[in-house]
């Protein structure tokens, strides 16, 4: 087990190195550089002199060749220094840190909601399999699954922020807090947070909800055909007990791998959704830093996401061995 872990970690480090290398080469190959996208630099009355530009390029490390600059970034990164953002003139870790909570505020509730709802729906669908109500639920989930989350988000905005504007169901269109947030009392502040969270959280939740519940149902269908379920029925156990104690516990094995694989989505959020809701999270940061060519921020985010992806895969494999005693890693 320890040998396997060490091998996985070493392989992960190699993968990490290659990913950062590829992304670094790519972003440096993008036309334009961070100096050209800075609005202050574009002011015709105050054009920086040739020397100023060269000085700034040296300060940003833009005068180095791509491999040289990559090694520079890498050695600093190993020491825990991710550089500072060109756009915000702050250390990358601070820039990312200020946005992590905003993204977690969306992804954690939606992940919990998705699991809490998907398990009962999946069990219900197996229990009523083939009946009219199960078919209705199945068709509904299938339709939901075919609507991309960004379209659902736009439709929700149209319904709750435009159509129901002025009624009791009115919800804010976008953003994370209202303009008059500072003047509110603490309970009003909490309500304000919640109101702004509802639409993004629904948009985040429902795609995974449709996917998870179909996933649970597919696995349950396989399990309920097994002999031990027939034995349990023959013993005279009730359907609920069979469903939960005998069938569902055996579908947990593929389910936990899903949990591990959803780890990167937790932090990555969704670039498109955060952009639609103008939510100041990591996805929006990623999008903006690509637009402004903010190399250190792009690299920091890529690194964080890749580490999480690799950790998620490792976690899934470990959990797999943990819940299924037939699997062992040597």
């Amino acid at each position: 087990m320890v040998g396997y872990l060490i091998r996985r970690v070493l392989l992960g480090l190699l993968t990490l190195l290659l990913i950062t290398m590829v992304i670094y080469a790519l972003i440096r190959a993008m036309p334009g550089n961070p100096l050209a996208t800075d609005a202050a630099m574009m002011n015709p009355e105050n054009m920086p002199s040739e020397e100023d530009i060269q000085r700034m390029q040296a300060a940003y490390g833009l005068d180095k060749s791509i491999p040289e600059a990559y090694i520079h970034w890498l050695t600093n990164m190993v020491r825990g220094d991710f550089g500072s953002s060109f756009a915000e003139k702050k250390p990358v870790l601070d820039v990312i840190g200020s946005r992590v909570t905003n993204t977690l505020l969306l992804t954690v509730p939606s992940l919990i909601l998705a699991y809490l709802l998907a398990i009962p729906i999946g069990l219900f669908s197996t229990w009523r399999s083939g009946k009219a109500d199960e078919r209705l639920v199945g068709v509904g989930l299938y339709m939901l699954y075919a609507i991309p989350s960004f379209i659902a988000a736009l439709f929700l905005q149209l319904l709750f922020a435009v159509k129901l504007d002025g009624t009791a169901f009115e919800l804010p269109l976008m953003g994370i807090r209202s303009d008059e947030y500072e003047t509110l009392t603490s309970t009003q502040k909490a309500w304000d947070w919640l109101k702004h969270m509802i639409l993004p959280v629904i948009s985040f939740t429902y795609v995974s909800l449709a996917y998870y519940s179909r996933f649970i149902k597919a696995n349950m269908e396989e399990v309920v055909r097994q002999d031990y379920i027939r034995t349990a029925k023959a013993k005279g156990l009730g359907p609920l007990r069979i469903m939960i104690h005998h069938a569902f516990r055996n579908t947990l094995i593929p389910f936990v791998t899903l949990l591990g694989l959803s780890l990167p989505a937790l932090l990555g959020g969704a670039i498109i959704l955060e952009q639609i809701f103008n939510w100041p999270g990591m996805g929006q940061l990623y999008f903006r830093s690509i637009l402004t060519r903010d190399y250190p921020v792009i690299m920091g985010l890529t690194f964080a996401l890749s580490v999480l992806t690799l950790l998620g895969q490792l976690l899934a494999d470990m959990l797999y061995a943990f819940v299924d005693p037939r699997i062992s890693y040597k």
Partner: protein, 361 residues
Amino acid sequence: MNQTNTTNESKKSPGFWRHAWLRFRRKKLSMCALIVVLCLSLIAVCSPMIAGTKPIVCKYKGNLYFPCMAYFNPDWENPIFQKDRFRKRYPKNLKEKDPESWAIWPLIFQDPYRPVRDNEWGDRPGNPFNGGKPSSLNLFGTSKGKDVLAMMVHGTRIALLVGFVSTGIAAAIGIVVGAIAGYFGGWIDIIISRIIELVMCIPSIVLILALIAVIEKPTIWHMMAILGFTSWTGMARLTRAEFLKLKESEFVAAARSIGAGPFRIMFRHILPNSLAPVMVPIVFGIAAAIKVEAGLSLLGFGAPPPNPSWGTILNAGMTNYTEWWQIVFPGIAIFITILAYNLIGEGLQEATDPRLADPKD
């Protein structure tokens, strides 16, 4: 002699794909989805004949022309119209410059690339620039003066092209890479599997955004290539697994014993037998490609305007939520297309899965 030949053929048992088709045909929903996709393809192919401001056929100064072909490729518009200074205004110019001329017009006189102005068609009023609600002239409303229905009709072409071309690229790369890894095994397999893992680890939207940013003037064709180059990993893994399994089978040994080379065995013998499980992710891949293209266009990262992609209309709609028709209609179109491909994929999955085969047929 002829007689025996025909009887022999009629007794021949149907092949795998014929079986699959027979089983697929029994699924009503999947067949409906197939019809929807065929209708969409028909709309895509006929888009200039459904909505446009250029005649389908016209007789001008004694010759027949097909100006509507310009919607497929601007170079296919006969230069005579440029020389005679039509400036894309056909109805009036045709009559003025040649009273003898006649023309067959598209069903809807609206252009996906520009607003129709006042009196361009008889004395019909032009498109409203702001707040162009759905009306009898603009069934789906207008987006910055352009007719949304015309944009959507021409957007069908983009959506289907994106789906087929990018998935085609992905499938070609995935199948070749997966086949090589699975068939040769050994260190080739180790290296290819590492590369696949590497590509899978990079969040695809980040890779796509970075690649698009690298291209200075991305066109819709660049988008398709990028989508193709970033979505082949799943198919490569599947093909590799199939090849690992099939390369040990008797028919491969037989082919090898009569002296067939590795590439002949791979693509003539193993590939046709491993195509069924690979076909299913290809169909789902088409739906995914359409979704990603719409999302990128929505972010403003798609092909530059004026391209009437469904996502571009959504992008315009996001700047003004009160003009709901710019969001609702393209949204529904994307939903229907993705749903149709998903249903076809599901039907194909069930039709080609030997475990679900009906022993009767």
